[in-house]
């Protein structure tokens, strides 16, 4: 007996192909920014990549694993600190950045062993406590001299222009690597578990999903990605003042980007990061008022559009922009 209909299973759609094209164009544009926008433009491009990295990672944590952390600055700040320390010990600054990303993953794994036992709000503030603890300990280091801070002096071994370009390309490569890693993870068996947990944690557990292992995987990935962002931010700004890296304003930025873009969607995080980049360029000089505005917009989105901009745009497009699932079409013969 032949079936009366045929199923076609695809991942790609017009939307995803357009998105791939757009992201490729954006990547090429960013890679070429030393020639297109000069040294200043390249530094801004690194800032954009750091925001994308932070948003995508915080979204993976909060949106996929249901873990809201107020203290991801733990990884952001310590990675910058590790980079300064390793460079001071004689390691090439760029190798120090890569080593700090690995150390960030290790720190994430160790942290996950006990922090994941905390629930929701407890976990959120508990991470803040850890970030604060790391901040205080970093301040004790004589190299850092408390809040005075220090610089990544060894970067001076590279000429200013080539340094900026090199930092940008490294930032681009690292961001793409983490992005690909996340998409591959979401498309794997673990990804199915992540989606199940996102939609209904108790339900996922009841059908045999190892919730703790899955959350730990996401947590370690997010720790490494956030660490990468911190080390890259240091490479771009060279100054390391602990408060500028462990400050709670970074959490406000992550919250803003993910809530405005759309919690639980990679596309949303990227849109949120780009939007934040634009807003920061225009309004960043307004100081505390700027933070008031960011907080207000984030709260309004949380209350009135909890799925963010992508929650509104996404369903209106055919297929997924960054597909992690499959499209199943049924055609009658």
């Amino acid at each position: 007996m032949t079936p009366r209909f045929q199923l076609t299973v695809t991942r790609s759609s017009a939307t995803s192909r357009t998105t791939n094209g757009l992201m490729l164009c954006l990547a090429v544009l960013l890679a070429l920014s030393p020639w297109l926008f000069g040294v200043g433009g390249s530094a801004r491009a690194v800032a954009l990549l750091v925001y994308v990295l932070l948003a995508v990672m915080w979204n993976a944590l909060a949106g996929f694993a249901g873990l809201v952390s107020i203290g991801q600055t733990l990884f952001f700040g310590t990675a910058a600190y590790f980079t300064v320390r390793l460079a001071d010990a004689g390691l090439d600054p760029y190798l120090a950045i890569l080593a700090s990303i690995v150390l960030g993953a290790v720190l994430g794994w160790v942290t996950s062993l006990f922090m994941l036992s905390l629930k929701e709000g407890e976990f959120a503030i508990g991470m803040w406590v850890l970030s604060s603890l790391a901040h205080l300990c970093v301040n004790l280091d004589p190299l850092i001299q408390g809040e005075t801070g220090t610089s990544l002096i060894s970067l001076n071994a590279y000429a200013n222009a080539s340094r900026t370009s090199f930092t940008l390309w490294l930032a681009l490569a690292v961001t793409i690597a983490f992005f690909v890693l996340l998409v591959v993870l979401l498309r794997s068996r673990t990804g199915a578990a992540i989606t199940a947990i996102r939609d209904d944690e108790a339900g996922a557990r009841s059908i045999g999903v190892d919730v703790m292992r899955t959350k730990r995987t996401v947590f370690v990935l997010a720790a490494a990605g956030t660490a990468a962002a911190g080390a890259l931010w240091l490479a771009s700004n060279t100054n390391f003042q602990p408060r500028a890296y462990f400050g709670v304003h970074w959490t406000a930025y992550m919250l803003f980007m993910v809530l405005v873009g759309g919690l639980g969607r990679i596309e949303g995080a990227i849109i949120g990061a780009v939007l934040f980049f634009v807003i920061e360029t225009w309004f960043g000089s307004y100081g505390a008022w700027y933070l008031v505005g960011l907080g207000a917009i984030a709260v309004l989105f949380a209350l009135f559009l909890p799925k963010g901009l992508w929650g509104w745009i996404g369903p209106r497009l055919p297929g997924e922009a960054i597909p992690t699932g499959y499209i199943v079409e049924k055609k009658s013969r």
Binding site: G66, G121, I125, L133, L136, L303
Partner: protein, 290 residues
Amino acid sequence: MTSQIINAILLGGYYALLATGLAFMYSVMRIINLAHGTLIVLAAYALWVLGERLSIPLPAGIVVVAAAMFALGMALHHAVLARASRGGELLPILATFGVAIILDNLIFQVFGADSISLAPLVGDLTWASFELPGSLFVGKISVYILLASVVQIGLLEWMLRHTGLGHRIQATSQDRATAALLGIDTARTAAIATGVIAATAMGLRAAWGPYSGSVQLLFAFEAVVIGGAGSLWRVLTGALVLAFAQSLAASIHPQGFLIGGHLAFLAAVFLRLRGAGWSFTALLKSGVRA
């Protein structure tokens, strides 16, 4: 040594004042309010404006500020918390954190970066002290703060166990929506009263600035986690342990004060991992029903 121990106990009294409101509101609303510290700081600024700028005596100021904070609490509840808690467990955390960011920076814009204190409002009391045997002197304000925390916890515990409201809270502890219908206003009044008392205590014992809220939140939170489930009296225990850990660490290293508190928090998390079901979340389960 003895004076260090006494000071740690008195400091613990202050932390208990900070933490009681957080724990109590959690037991009723099932929400950890990340704006807790910021709201206390805001109330302290309001007390300062009334006392220093308008020359209103502190006791009268406390009544006025409690009324104002009650109005603000109502507004925040209806505009933010009630709506956010319908959207799952994550949104209230995000929303209250957003509120804290907004308020912290608004306070900075209005009052500037200066550290201020309520001490001038009470005149001699600021440096008045009791003399204990062995020529030990302890500040009167710190003693009053410790007494206030004990009285406050006693009253709230009595309310939870012996009044109709307390029984309604027990009955609805697993159901946020129903809890919101039953007695939430009374509970919020109690929580706001504890907050204003904590604000008075904070303002009298030390100077504070626009961004002091997050530290107060961390202290309150650590006291609750260290104390663990059981009853509000355990919040007092947690607050005392926190104060002892901080004082001990401060005596080891001049910058060790905060680190000691954070390490005590970590130790509490590790202890809980060993499986005693020792959780903030379980505060009400075993606490009020006991």
